[in-house]
């Protein structure tokens, strides 16, 4: 029996799944009718009771976040969707929006109604042009169908929805940097408090939710709290998208109840590529500490992954086999964090630069054993000492790789270079293609 539970992905195999006709044919926009027929507070209560937690990485309860918005304050409220999917390994919101942007729009209408917002934004990354088209078209079609704009479905609720397109800055996936960017500034994180629920976009109460979190709401309204909570584990309710990439036979998206294990997922992906075995993996993107084959049976829910020393993150499972040099992998991620550091906080801006210098030396066999402790010391002075979590993310692969693969770092020093052949981790024939 398959443990899979396709809900969001249930009709992605239909050619017109992204159109308003396709969505409606599969039961779309029924939830918004149900939601607008009950009070906004009851919508918030339903989402709270379902146990839905943020699918963008942090796992904060979605309904509670909505409940933080002050009511009766005579201020504009804003509902903002974070579609800036850029965490290395993360590839769930992008295919979701390509295959079905309308489920997000339906979730946005429901969420905006709940928090009494009349203006909503989707902040989408700018490097995925065709997904931008699909979302733009879906918004226009929703307006034409009377699902956006004035007096939605004749229920007296008004909502404007604007697609805002980013321009290539990972940091804008951080919610306060996203808000600064949306206001027309450089995308740099803000000091908190105040949190966005009190002073968000244009200093007004604002909810910022991940695409998958918002897209999960219509199914909860349609099928009920018990249905949702019947999936998953005690504190991690529901279904979610797990994205397997890397050295498995068949990479792809798997929608399953929270708590499935990597062993089960690799099995569904057809196993590791032939003749190879698992070496290390990320449970939820490059900012979540690495796991090894010792963690194959760790339940992939918020608590299970945390108890094993990492984070569920975005459920971006990047799988690396024994041909991959962990130092090369970590150096490349570190170069990414250095490039994407916004420069606001000194520990992150300067620290990530130094991490790259040291790792470059280590990879090329020019470093010394004391550098390993220097790396850890630097990480200790970077993580937790900046406005946002980018610095924590930069430290995570380094600290975890030193924990599990210290010997491999030392091997580089002993042999005076990288003992791995990069051609072996490549998935196509190099010699044949270079003729």
């Amino acid at each position: 029996m398959s443990k899979l539970t396709p809900v969001l992905s249930a009709f992605w195999d239909q050619k017109d799944s992204f159109t308003i006709e396709g969505y409606k044919r599969n039961g779309g926009y029924k939830a918004v009718e149900k939601a607008l027929a009950i009070s906004p507070d009851d919508v918030i209560k339903t989402v709270k009771d379902s146990g839905l937690r943020g699918r963008g990485g942090a796992g904060f309860p979605t309904g509670m976040k909505w409940g933080f918005i002050p009511q009766g304050d005579n201020k504009e409220h804003y509902f903002v969707v974070n579609a800036d999917e850029s965490e290395p390994g993360t590839c769930k919101d992008t295919p979701l929006l390509m295959a079905n942007p309308h489920v997000l729009i339906e979730g946005i209408i429901i969420g905006s109604y709940a928090i009494r917002a009349n203006y909503a934004f989707i902040y989408i990354r700018g490097e995925i042009a065709h997904v931008v088209r699909r979302v733009q078209q879906a918004i226009e079609d929703a307006y034409k169908a009377g699902l956006l704009g004035k007096n939605i479905l004749g229920k007296g609720f008004d909502l404007e929805l604007v697609l805002h397109i980013g321009a290539g800055a990972y940091i804008c996936g951080e919610e306060t940097a996203l808000l600064d960017s949306l206001e027309g500034f450089r995308g740099q994180p803000r000091l908190r408090p105040p949190f966005p629920a009190i002073a968000g976009l244009y200093a007004r109460p604002t909810v910022v939710n991940n695409v998958e979190s918002v897209a999960s709401v219509p199914s909860i309204i349609n099928n009920g709290v018990e249905w949702f909570a019947s999936m998953g584990t005690e504190k991690s309710k529901g279904y979610t998208l797990y994205s397997l990439s890397g050295h498995v036979k068949n990479p792809g998206q798997f929608e399953a109840p929270l708590g499935i294990t990597l062993r089960e997922l690799i099995d569904l992906a057809g196993g590791m590529r032939s003749g190879h075995k698992l070496k290390f993996w990320t449970p939820g993107g490059s900012s979540t500490p690495l796991f090894t084959d010792a963690h194959l049976d760790t339940p992939l829910d918020y608590e299970g992954v945390a108890a094993a020393g990492s984070m569920l993150g975005t459920k971006a499972l990047q799988i690396f086999d024994e041909t991959v040099c962990v130092v090369r992998a970590v150096l490349r991620w570190t170069e990414f964090y250095k490039h994407e550091s916004c420069g606001k906080c000194t520990p992150c801006r300067e620290g990530t630069w130094w991490l790259v210098q040291i790792l470059e030396d280590l990879e090329s066999g020019k470093g010394e054993a004391a550098d390993l402790d220097k790396l850890l010391d630097l990480c200790d002075n970077i993580a937790g000492r900046s406005f946002c979590a980018l610095a924590d993310g930069a430290a995570a692969p380094i600290i975890s790789s030193l924990k599990y693969f210290r010997e491999e770092y030392l091997e580089h020093l002993r042999t005076g270079g990288c003992p791995f052949d990069p051609a072996k981790s490549t998935v196509f024939e190099l010699a044949g293609s270079e003729r």
């Binding site: 398959s2 443990k3 899979l4 396709p6 249930a10 992605w12 195999d13 050619k15 799944s17 992204f18 290395p88 993360t90 590839c91 390509m98 295959a99 700018g126 490097e127 995925i128 042009a129 065709h130 931008v132 088209r133 078209q137 879906a138 604007v162 805002h164 397109i165 980013g166 321009a167 290539g168 800055a169 990972y170 949306l182 206001e183 027309g184 995308g187 994205s243 990439s245 890397g246 036979k249 068949n250 990479p251 792809g252 998206q253 798997f254 929608e255 399953a256 099995d267 569904l268 057809g270 991959v324 490039h339 916004c342 051609a423 981790s425 490549t426 998935v427 190099l430 293609s433 270079e434």
Partner: protein
């Protein structure tokens, strides 16, 4: 050009937002749709339209890597060299393409057709190694397929993206899409590729464990 004849479009973009300054980013994308990159003249137009100093607009333009300060090719090729794509072949693709085109990172071929940039994770890891052209997906690339791709771009007949419109738009055309202008091509192309549908397919088959 430099946004000189775009008054109505610029005003409509500004009107999307409760506060005008929020329109900086779409207007910078629009500037690239006109000139291929962000020119000093377009910075001035945007600043004037939004009642800002040019330095304020420049500060934003220089923060984001998609805004270019010099011309790119008609086809701008991005090779993902973040860890996962890199180890699966992205590094080999990137190096061989630069050598093949005799250019360096962020440079344009002498005919102005193709430029290359190594890019960060583009949210398509289950299709690795990934190459983007003008921010359209070319999935599961190899050294050979990417060489063919850039050669076709130089010859002016690039193949359609793997998951994208039926014909690859130019850099300027797609920059207009990123300014939020609907080019009417949302319905073109597949709704999903095979990896996207893998879990659904297995679930429908009743959970058969292995596809092969």
């Amino acid at each position: 050009m430099s946004l000189k004849n775009d008054d109505a479009l610029i005003d409509s973009i500004i009107k999307r937002y409760p506060r005008s300054r929020s329109a900086i980013m779409p207007l910078l994308h629009l500037a690239q749709a006109r000139d291929g990159y962000v020119t000093p003249e377009s910075i001035e137009v945007i600043a004037e339209k939004l009642s800002l100093e040019t330095a304020e607009v420049s500060a934003v333009a220089t923060f984001y890597t998609q805004y270019k300060r010099k011309p790119v090719g008609e086809y701008h090729v991005g090779v993902c060299t973040n860890t996962l794509c890199a180890v699966m072949g992205g590094d080999a693709i990137y190096e061989s393409i630069l050598e093949h085109l005799s250019i360096d990172n962020d440079e344009v071929t002498s005919d102005g057709k193709v430029s290359v940039e190594h890019i960060e994770c583009n949210a398509a890891c289950d299709y690795a190694p990934v190459v983007m052209v003008n921010w359209e997906f070319y999935d599961n690339q190899t050294v050979a397929s990417t060489k063919d791709l850039v050669d076709a771009c130089r010859a002016g007949n690039p193949p359609a993206p793997t998951r994208g419109p039926n014909k690859l738009p130019t850099w300027k055309e797609n920059s207009e899409v990123l300014a939020g202008v609907n080019d009417g091509r949302a319905n073109e192309g597949v709704q999903a590729g095979e990896p996207t549908l893998l879990g659904l397919k297995i679930a429908k088959e009743g959970g058969k464990k292995c596809l092969n």
